[in-house]
Every structure is written in structure tokens, then in C-alpha cells.
């Protein structure tokens, strides 16, 4: 599904990603953990194609093709979905209008028929239930005045409607109350299909109790310093990033001292 090789990326001239290697197979769920500022969101943005992030080296293959040469909307149309850490507000554009435009843009690009208002409403009704999104949010402008938790839930609602092949969740769990966390995770789980993959960025092992990963990676200072099974998340929770660093990997130690703080 996704193969990242020696990926380097800068933002405003500053190198943030310093050689990432990562492979996510079809149907797998991978978790990325790591201290604040280590580059997790940067990686997510690079994959989605944000213009502020410049790839300086390396390559990314998505479904066997060069991802980096595609426009952000082309990536989305081919099934990449990013649930943003900080979802953006679009005043005056209703949430449902926006989503219908998005869904139809994706469908059109995939050669599917566009949905009319009635079919769309039908579809939305189901998905609203799935993530228990208050219906009023459908008719309000995109994310405008939404609470932090509502914004996150709205991201998962969009994910549910767009049904991507590769979902990247950037700290979707932060700011959610316990119930919301369960609901959102259930939402994600229900969309797990053999053909779909998920990349979850999180600080908390708790989320991984709900969305169980096949693989956990620790990103420190722009590099993946350790990868392992879901138990790695538990270990991290116990020892912190410093603790992981203590286990002999010098780069980690350096990096952790420079940038990491335990969360």
C-alpha cells in the first residue's frame, strides 16, 4: 500500500524529516508515536502533499506508484485521507455542502457517478449515526465554532463518508473524552477492511487498545528509531521516550535529549 524510503523533508528551510523508512501493507494498521515536535504531523502532511513541506530526498510509493508527483487532490481522489490534528474552519460553507463536493470530486475522479442531494443525504444519515455526530453540525459551516472534540469527530465522519484506502489519523484521539474516544475508534474500526490501511499518530497507548495496530513505530527527531509490535506502545507508556533511548541506541539518546519530552 505505502512504502516510504529514506524520506527527508524540510519546512521553511529547516530539516524536520531526516530519513524515514516505513512500509505499510494492505490491510495493516500502523501506529506512529514520538515526542512533541519530532515530525509526526510533518510526515502526515508530506504524505498528503501540503505545499509548505518540501521533500528534499527519498521516495514514497503508494499502490506502487510515485506519490510525491501527485497533487494533493489527486492523492485524495486515489484514496488518501488525512484526519487533521488541527482541522481548518471554512466560514460560510456548510459542512454537508463541503462533504458532498468532496465526495463527488472523489467519485468523479474514480469514474463513479456523482451522488445527487437525495442519495447523499441517505448516505450521510447512516454515517452520522456511526460516529454519533450531532446532526446540527451538518448544517453549520465547516468546523466553525466546533469544539475541539466536535472537530475531531467531524474528521472521522468525513472519513466514514469518503471511505479512503489509506487513512492517516493525526492525533485524532487528543481532546476527546472517554466516550468520544470509544465512538471514534469504533468508527475507524468499522471502516477497517482487508483492502484498507490505517496510519495512526498518537501519544497514547489508550487509543491502541481500541484500534489495535499491527506495528508501532517510534519517531524521534525526524527518524524512526524503533519499530515493534503493539507491545512497544506499552513499553513506551511505562518507560517514556528517554527509557527507550536508554536501551543503547545512541541516535535515540541524542535525539531524546535534544528534543524529546515525556508525554
Amino acid at each position: 500500500m505505502l512504502e516510504i524510503r529514506d524520506l527527508h523533508a524540510t519546512v521553511e528551510g529547516k530539516e524536520i524529516l531526516r530519513g524515514i523508512d516505513l512500509a505499510v501493507k494492505v490491510g495493516e494498521v500502523h501506529a506512529i508515536m514520538g515526542p512533541n515536535g519530532s515530525g509526526k504531523s510533518t510526515l502526515a502532511q508530506v504524505l498528503a502533499g501540503h505545499p509548505a513541506y518540501v521533500v528534499t530526498k527519498g521516495e514514497v510509493l503508494y499502490q506502487g506508484k510515485n506519490l510525491l508527483e501527485l497533487q494533493p487532490e489527486e492523492r485524495a481522489q486515489r484514496g488518501i485521507f488525512l484526519a487533521f490534528q488541527y482541522p481548518v474552519e471554512i466560514p460560510g460553507v456548510s459542512n454537508s455542502y463541503f462533504l458532498k463536493a468532496a465526495l463527488n470530486a472523489v467519485r468523479k475522479a474514480q469514474g463513479l457517478e456523482e451522488l445527487d442531494a437525495i442519495d447523499f443525504l441517505e448516505l450521510v444519515k447512516d454515517k452520522v449515526k456511526l460516529v454519533e455526530l450531532p446532526e446540527a453540525l451538518l448544517h453549520r459551516p465547516v468546523n466553525e465554532g466546533f469544539s475541539g472534540g466536535e472537530k475531531k469527530r467531524n474528521e472521522i465522519f468525513q472519513l466514514a463518508v469518503l471511505e479512503p484506502r489509506l487513512a492517516i489519523l493525526d492525533e485524532t484521539d487528543s481532546g476527546l473524552d472517554i466516550d468520544a474516544l470509544r465512538i471514534v475508534s469504533q468508527g475507524v474500526n468499522r471502516l477497517r477492511r482487508p483492502g484498507n490501511s490505517v496510519l495512526v499518530v498518537t501519544h497514547y497507548q489508550r487509543l491502541l487498545n481500541y484500534i489495535v495496530p499491527d506495528c508501532v513505530h517510534v519517531l524521534v527527531n525526524g527518524r524512526i528509531v524503533r519499530s515493534g509490535s503493539k507491545e512497544l506502545a506499552l513499553e513506551l507508556e511505562e518507560k517514556g521516550y528517554d527509557g527507550i533511548a536508554d536501551e543503547g541506541d545512541e541516535t535515540v539518546a541524542e535525539a531524546a535529549q535534544g528534543e524529546a519530552r515525556v508525554v
Binding site: 502533499g49 505545499p51 487532490e73 481548518v88 460553507v93 463536493a101 470530486a105 472523489v106
Partner: protein, 505 residues
């Protein structure tokens, strides 16, 4: 986009009305060129039927226009007074716009399209006009007429098609061309003409009063709610012909009318002056809603050509509880100079101004409103959305005046600007004068850049750049579009999309 096509059409048009061709047209068609020279030598004194006054402006031209239209003496005298007053005036220079000096003697002041046989149906309207509407998704005859809109299509200053007139006449509504009204209802014209915008008002209003060729007139009698949206399309067709439309709308006691004015113009090389005057009068308990979508030719990407749109629009809320509401979407013209205002004279009267002004490439807009509160408990609302892209300059200029008698008057002004790119500009000049201590004016303003993050968010969901920009800008303008009649709102949204093409990327 359609430059080549238009140039050809112009050449064809010109051959049927030879004098209208100007030697600066740049047409390579020697035959036509020759004919132009010939016709030009003959001049109008021997060829008065050419339906085109010679270039320049003097009393004779004013008389020519009035005579051409078979006007009663009072009209001629009014025009002449206006002309003489104009001679004493200077072109205003306070607006935040730049353009080379206009040579008023180097323009034509009267041109009528060659009369064809009477039009039997709207199918006979210029196909070029229809094509322009098609591009915006609004076939004139189908969408407007079928939607119950009476269409009074005006181009080249003379009305060529009017529908639904008989239905309106049954209700006592007078709606048609201004010239017709001068003949059929001189009493109404005499009573109201120039009472809201006197010819002394400003330089362009004086010029218009002297030489206006046609426009629309509407009178809605006491207690009548006009059952359909009245609509007029304007179009500038004759090259280098200043356009001077005049519109007068009167809603008598308890009457209601909604009027739509839409403008499109084909590609032009020459700057063209457009100085219209619109007067609205609302008596006791009457309401007038006036909506405009203005899309005159804005000039090319390098700022060449384009219409100068210097318009005076004003409404008088004369009666108690009367209401006048202006909604405008300004996307066209090289330069827009326009301040639709309300004189809130009747107690409890209400004035509203909702505006979207978009400037792209080298367009300049200096627009806003004037709300003059005279009566008690008068209220006004101003919502202005300015969008600047390319090298566009967008200025909001608003005057809110609360006079001595305006006890408990209220104004709310909201003025938002959006910048697309970093070579454009937005400027806000609110003037507030309060002379009654119980009156209050409130002003809010904001300026934002279209967010890279907003665009990226849309793209990440699969929406392409142009659709994303159009969506974000339309969202920004939502409060104004909400005020437009439904089908007009759709048209306006498309127009914003079309006008912004290529502005980001």
C-alpha cells in the same frame, strides 16, 4: 477567452452599422475600413438617420438626443439645464482609483442598434447575448422567462424586447423602457425624475441627465405587490459609445417590487465610460429590493481595456415604514465607482446594503454606500464583502449620517475584505457622522488572506484548486448571496468562480 470570436462579430456588426466602426478598432478588413472612412466623411448632418450622433458633446447633441426620442419640451429643458450645470463641474478625483483622463469630446453620446423588424419572441434576441448567458448557465428565455421573470433586454441603450408587460399592466404596474414612459406617463416622469438624484448631484449624474438615451421605468401603484421579479439585462455593444442609462422605480404606498439588474459585456479594446443613474422612491409602507449582478468587461490580464463604471444609485425612503434594500455583486469593469445609498426620511424606514465586490488582475473598485438617517427610528444595515486578487484594488467607502431628527436611529456596518495573493489591496474608509445623541452607529471590519491551509484542507478532501477557491470565496460572501433572489444567487456564485479563474496557483 472569446476574443477572436468577438472581434469577428464586431466587424460583422459594424458592417451593418458602418458609422459605428472606429478607426482604432484595429480590424484588418480593408473593405469595412473603407466604408467607415466614407460614412465618416458624410457626417451626421446629411445622414441623421444613422442613429448615431457624431463624437463630442455640445448643446446640439443634447437637442439631437431629445429630438431623436421625440421627447416633450420639459425633458429637453431638463436635459439642457443638466448639461449647462455639467459644464460648471469638475470630474471627481477623491476616489481611490487611477485612470487616464477621459476626453469627453472623443466619445459618442447616442447610438441605437439598427432597427430590425419587431421582435416576435426572445428567440430573436442577439445570439451572442444568449451565448454569454449560457456560459453562466442562464439561458435567457428559458430560465428567466419560464421562471416568471419579465425580461426587458436593453442593449445599446434601446430596449428591444419586453415581455410580461400585459400581465403587469393588468395589475396597474408600469414597466418598460424609460423612453416609452416619457411618452405614455409623462406625469409620472415629471413628478419623480431627478427627485432622488438631482442633476446637480455629481459630475457623472449631471452628464447622465443631459445625455441619457434610455433605461427602465417602473411604477407600482398603491397596495400592489409585484408578483414577479422584474429584470433588465444591459449590454454595451457599440464600440466607444458612452452608456448613459437611467432607471427610475417608484413603489407607491404599500407596494412591493423586486428588481434585478444584470450586466454582461463582450471583450473590448477601448475603455468605455458607463455612467448610469438609478433612482428609487418608496412611499409609506412600500418596499423596493434592487439586486445587481455587474459583469461588465474588466479589461484583459494586463489591464488593457475594460469598462469605467461610474454609477449613481440612490433610493429615497420617503414614507413611514418604507424599506429599500440594495444587493450588489460587482465582478466586472476595469473601474467601479459606485455608492448605492438610501435617504431614510420616513419614520421607521429601513435601508440595507449588501455588497460583494471582486477585483482581479488590474481591476479597481471604490464602492460602498451612503445611509442618510433623517427620520425617527430609522435603521440601516451595511454588509460589504471585498475580494481582491491579482493586482486588484478594492476600496470600501461608506457614509453613515445620523441627522438631528434621527432619534433612536441605528446603523450596523460590517465590512470584510479577503485578499488572494500578495499583490492586491483592500482599503476601508468608513465615515460616520452622528448629530443626534440617541442615534447609534456600529462598525466592524476585518481583513483576511485566503488561507493556504483552507485550500489545502479542501484539496485533501479531493476538491481541486479552482473549486476550492470558489467555495471558500462563496462562503465568505454567504451573507450577501442570501439576500439575492434564488436564481440570481446561483448565477452570482458561478460568476465569482469564473471571475477568479487563474487567480491562484
Amino acid at each position: 477567452m472569446r476574443q477572436g470570436q468577438d472581434a469577428m462579430d464586431d466587424a460583422t456588426n459594424a458592417s451593418s452599422i458602418p458609422v459605428m466602426m472606429d478607426d482604432r478598432d484595429g480590424s484588418s478588413d480593408d473593405v469595412i475600413e473603407d466604408r467607415v472612412q466614407q460614412e465618416y466623411q458624410w457626417g451626421w448632418s446629411t445622414e441623421i438617420e444613422a442613429d448615431l450622433a457624431p463624437k463630442g458633446l455640445n448643446e446640439n447633441i443634447v437637442r439631437f438626443i431629445s429630438e431623436k426620442k421625440g421627447e416633450p419640451e420639459f425633458m429637453l429643458q431638463w436635459r439642457l439645464k443638466a448639461y449647462r450645470h455639467w459644464l460648471t463641474m469638475r470630474e471627481p478625483s477623491w476616489a481611490n482609483v487611477k485612470y487616464p483622463p477621459i476626453d469627453y469630446q472623443d466619445a459618442y453620446y447616442y447610438a441605437a442598434p439598427k432597427k430590425k423588424a419587431e421582435l416576435q419572441s426572445l428567440d430573436e434576441v442577439d445570439p451572442e447575448l444568449i451565448r454569454t448567458f449560457d456560459k453562466l448557465g442562464i439561458p435567457l428565455e428559458e430560465q428567466k422567462v419560464l421562471a416568471g421573470v419579465a425580461v426587458d433586454a436593453v442593449f445599446d441603450s434601446v430596449s428591444v424586447a419586453t415581455t410580461f408587460k400585459s400581465k403587469l399592466a393588468e395589475m396597474g404596474v408600469v414597466f418598460g423602457s424609460f423612453s416609452e414612459a416619457v411618452h405614455n406617463h409623462p406625469d409620472l416622469i415629471r413628478k419623480y425624475l431627478g427627485t432622488v438624484v438631482p442633476y446637480t448631484d455629481n459630475f457623472f449624474a449631471a452628464l447622465n441627465s443631459a445625455v441619457f438615451s434610455d433605461g427602465s421605468f417602473c411604477y407600482v401603484p398603491k397596495g400592489v405587490r409585484c408578483p414577479m421579479e422584474l429584470s433588465t439585462y444591459f449590454r454595451i455593444n457599440a464600440q466607444n459609445t458612452g452608456q448613459f442609462e437611467r432607471t427610475l422605480i417608484v413603489a407607491d404606498e404599500g407596494a412591493y417590487v423586486s428588481y434585478l439588474e444584470g450586466c454582461t459585456a463582450p471583450m473590448r479594446d477601448e475603455n468605455q465610460l458607463h455612467a448610469a443613474v438609478v433612482e428609487l422612491v418608496a412611499m409609506d409602507n412600500a418596499e423596493i429590493k434592487y439586486s445587481t449582478v455587474q459583469n461588465w468587461y474588466p479589461g484583459d490580464k494586463d489591464g488593457k481595456g475594460g469598462i469605467y463604471n461610474f454609477v449613481t444609485k440612490r433610493g429615497a425612503c420617503r414614507g413611514v415604514n418604507s424599506k429599500i434594500s440594495w444587493t450588489q455583486v460587482e465582478t466586472g469593469s476595469a473601474i467601479t465607482w459606485k455608492y448605492p445609498g438610501c435617504i431614510l426620511q420616513g419614520d421607521n424606514s429601513v435601508g440595507e446594503f449588501y455588497s460583494v465586490a471582486l477585483t482581479n488582475n488590474w481591476q479597481q473598485a471604490d464602492t460602498g454606500t451612503k445611509m442618510i438617517h433623517l427620520g425617527k427610528n430609522t435603521r440601516s444595515t451595511i454588509v460589504s464583502k471585498g475580494i481582491s486578487a491579482g493586482q486588484g484594488q478594492n476600496t470600501y467607502r461608506g457614509l453613515v449620517q445620523m441627522m438631528k431628527g434621527a432619534t433612536n436611529a441605528r446603523n450596523f456596518t460590517q465590512c470584510d475584505s479577503m485578499l488572494i495573493g500578495d499583490k492586491c489591496g483592500a482599503h476601508t474608509f468608513p465615515y460616520i457622522e452622528v448629530r443626534n445623541s440617541t442615534a447609534q452607529a456600529e462598525h466592524e471590519a476585518s481583513t483576511s488572506k485566503i488561507g493556504e491551509d483552507q485550500i489545502f484542507y479542501c484539496k485533501q478532501r479531493g476538491i481541486g484548486l479552482e473549486d476550492a477557491v470558489s467555495m471558500i470565496v462563496n462562503g465568505f460572501c454567504k451573507e450577501v448571496f442570501r439576500e439575492l433572489p434564488m436564481e440570481f444567487a446561483v448565477e452570482a456564485q458561478k460568476l465569482l468562480g469564473v471571475s477568479l479563474e487563474g487567480s491562484v496557483g
